[in-house]
Symmetry: C2
């Protein structure tokens, strides 16, 4: 079925993905749900690799999320196992047993303990995960481990994504150049339930786990936490950042020393987050919404997400209609301080609405032209304060209904 959906018109090509010291990868065909494609990823990390993680806020998380949250306290990672096709969510005790079986087998394969094996699963909810299909291929995966497999890794974790997603940057840290490479999968669903957002970031930098966690949390807040496809929150969302230390930089927790690394990490996460939006179900347009003049940055983000999650705004964009009345509505429903008589709205840089009415001398022509493009830019000025935020979403199209309204196969 995966081939029935055409590649997103917003797709980007994979960048060059250089090797990264301390990370070896292998992918294989466990046959969990898909046939004739890779569906499992094994990553091996150098001894002493530190780790940070951010997980779904959904209160019904999958068993792998529970496992990762627990072992993250140790701050160290030797391995990562990811499978596509089954999310291992809402499987009760059987879900936890599948996690234990996979972590134990991978620990034995890599010569470590289950407390250093991170796991992520993505796919159908509520079907038992056949862990034996994963453990059966671990020896072969170990034999295949190699440093130059990031593109393969990005492909193996896809469920119904229409293109693989990866980004890479270099940064100066502690006197040396370090590299950060990330892969992600998003929510391009065909078989329903398969909408987990997973992302794995790897770096050869040496960074203590607490500093790594602080940077990851902050950067996720400005990237993956600023995107929305349809307001629904997966039970499996996972972002993990592994730092192998093989670049042999001087480890530091000093914010100034880490500034360039933080910049590069932010860019990698930003790129990956926007790729997830570009592969949103049925997406035909990438929408950037910038909110200024709110009473705080948090308020600006909530207003931005209210606009981004509004089905009426999203369908208007799908129809190439710069319908600012619906943006007014979405601002007003956000529950944040707003004054309709101070509100201003621009699309593609043209101010359409100002001071509680249509902007004086408003000319629709440049807006109509902008709405026909692939990348839509909406700016909202609340007119009350200095709070600002940018969020991203996609339009809501017939493709979304096609993908999500079909029977499970």
């Amino acid at each position: 079925m995966a081939n029935a959906i055409p590649v997103s018109p917003l797709a980007l090509p994979l960048p060059e993905l250089p090797k990264l010291a301390g990370v070896r990868l292998a992918t294989g065909e466990a046959g969990i749900r898909y046939k004739g494609r890779t569906d499992v990823l094994l990553a091996e990390f150098a001894e002493g690799t530190t780790v940070a993680g951010v997980f779904t806020k959904n209160l019904c998380p999958g068993a792998p999320v529970t496992h990762c949250r627990e072992i993250l306290k140790g701050g160290l990672a030797r391995g990562l196992v990811v499978n596509a096709g089954n999310a291992n969510v809402f499987n009760g005790a059987a879900g936890l047993r599948a996690v234990e079986a996979t972590a134990s087998a991978a620990a034995q394969t890599l010569g470590t303990t289950p407390e250093q094996i991170f796991l992520a699963s993505t796919g159908v909810i509520g079907e038992p995960l056949p862990a034996h299909k994963i453990t059966a291929v671990l020896d072969q995966l170990k034999a295949d481990l190699a440093e130059d497999r990031f593109a393969d890794a990005a492909r193996a974790i896809m469920t119904t994504d229409t293109f693989p997603k990866a980004a890479t940057r270099s940064a100066r840290l502690g006197g040396v150049e370090v590299r950060i490479t990330g892969i992600a999968k998003g929510s391009g669903m065909i078989a329903p339930d398969m909408a987990t957002m997973l992302s794995f970031i790897f770096t050869d930098a040496a960074i203590p786990a607490p500093a790594l966690q602080a940077m990851l949390s902050k950067c996720v807040d400005h990237s993956f936490n600023c995107i929305t496809i349809d307001s629904d929150t997966s039970t499996s969302d996972t972002v993990l950042l592994f730092a192998t230390g093989q670049a042999h930089n001087k480890p530091s927790e000093d914010p100034a020393a880490l500034a360039d690394f933080r910049r590069a990490l932010g860019e990698v996460l930003h790129d990956l987050a926007l790729m997830v939006v570009r592969d949103g179900e049925g997406a035909q347009k990438l929408v950037q919404i910038t909110v200024e003049g709110a009473v705080s940055n948090a308020s600006a983000r909530r207003i931005g997400l209210a606009i981004a999650n509004s089905p009426l705004v999203k369908t208007a964009i799908a129809g190439e209609d710069a319908n600012w009345g619906r943006i007014v509505m979405a601002v007003g429903k956000a529950g944040e301080p707003a004054d309709r008589d101070k509100l201003a709205i621009a699309v593609g840089g043209t101010w359409m609405a100002q001071a509680g009415g249509v902007a004086p001398g408003y000319n629709e022509a440049p807006v109509v032209a902008h709405m026909k493009g692939r990348e839509i830019d909406i700016a909202v000025d609340i007119g009350l304060g200095a709070g600002r935020a940018t969020v991203w979403t996609c339009d809501l199209t017939h493709g979304y209904i096609d993908i999500n309204g079909s029977y499970r196969s």
Copy 2:
């Protein structure tokens, strides 16, 4: 364009709508936006008519909402003017001038003051309301006033609704039988922006304004505030309740004396609210979601609305897929206390998920049959407390995209 959308398969016929002492109605063609159909309603109330109102929580409300909120403090009403085709929202000072012009002219026509003329407008946002088109027909409307025009009134306030909506009940109050009749319009959009929910309720009972307001607020909370089409909140939502006193019951504020009236009012509002859902944009199925076992009734309602507003749940229902994994997701994202291992989910009375996994011996056949029907019943037991709530929504279909994703004409 309005004729392009077929009548909702969930439509209900208009009931018999008896006369109601103290209410006279007339409808006319002001030609504000539509041609060849009525688009304006004038209601005249007997002297001493008390009034209660509930309005949108949207912070960018229309000028008529601002007007009604202000004059509601007086507690008395002699007239109501409603127009369809233009919402008079986000028109700045011009919007307020249109309100003043309409209220003044209607007050003169009915021999009262603008402070007793209630107004509601529904239609396009951000286009100046041509109030002169309304005031031009007021004399003719006055000449046409009659008691038996509820069906005409229900039709005149429609924008892109596919069927007129009305409900009526009788109740015992203060030794006499009184009647409550309500009309409503919902959100069946063709031209974008036209999604206002308006409802006007009339009774011949004599009830002081404070008691009327208390009952209306409570009943709206359990009816119109428990429905959602797409999570978007109109800038014009208005519910007004007029009590003419012409049944000559003994006025009372005693809750026991008002119990039967409150029951009947609740039923009228419940019927109207469900009609709005039945005419939701693109609706093919009416969905009732009952949440039990939450930590409070308010928590249960928030969980219910999280399920009802989930695009993934709604598209699954459109696809006749009893996808309980998505319901688990929606419960978990609601932000309310929940424990995946205590959660249970039933569709059409069949428990599918229990205790964190698939229900033992779960048989899909009755659920598959239920999902093919027009009315879908979802029950969720959170397993934590005694809080319960019921909310209603419709499915999310291609029709919604067709209706809301087309260019403005």
